[in-house]
Symmetry: C2
Subunit: 104 residues, 2 copies
């Protein structure tokens, strides 16, 4: 079964990006318990004052899907919703390996 | 000093994607020696038969820049050039933390 990767952007309501980063870093902390989640990296960009970029690597797509219905995830989504202005999925990926992930 | 992140796509010449993946996985192996490189993840995508997607996280931009002039990197670039049809830098990022990287 191949790994599953996602790269996307969450658009914060103007002025709320840093608060959204905090919420997503909390989400990353909750992923520490999930062995099937190898990476959940939260970034910002100088070229996009409202964007928060998340790069995820999961052992498989089912594990990612299951994580969305966890209580902790639902709580985080509720916290983030008021300051979210939208989401863009930039890439859906099949991670093949490299530094920082287990190579297929 | 903030971390430095990159997300980009390298376009393989038609039919050569898997060979390009191998070269980039070799590049990732060479990064194992570089403590300033936290992540170098190589992926493909079902929606792009010729694309190889690389997500990198470095402790700072200078370390990334310096890595480009290493002999091992130059050798890998020479190996890849004949089967590369182009490159797109999708995002230049400031990683803030998360699972799989040291949090700022």
């Amino acid at each position: 079964m191949s790994k599953f990767g996602l790269y996307g952007k969450i658009n914060a309501v103007e002025g709320e990006r840093d608060k959204l980063v905090e919420i997503l870093l909390d989400a990353a902390k909750s992923m520490e318990q999930l062995d099937d989640c190898e990476l959940y990296v939260v970034s910002i960009s100088d070229s996009d004052p409202d964007g928060v970029f998340v790069y995820e690597v999961w052992n498989n797509e089912e594990a990612h899907q299951a994580s969305l219905s966890l209580d902790v995830t639902q709580t985080l989504i509720e916290r983030a919703k008021p300051i979210m202005a939208g989401m863009d999925r930039i890439s859906t990926l099949i991670p093949m390996g490299g530094k920082g992930v287990v190579t297929q």
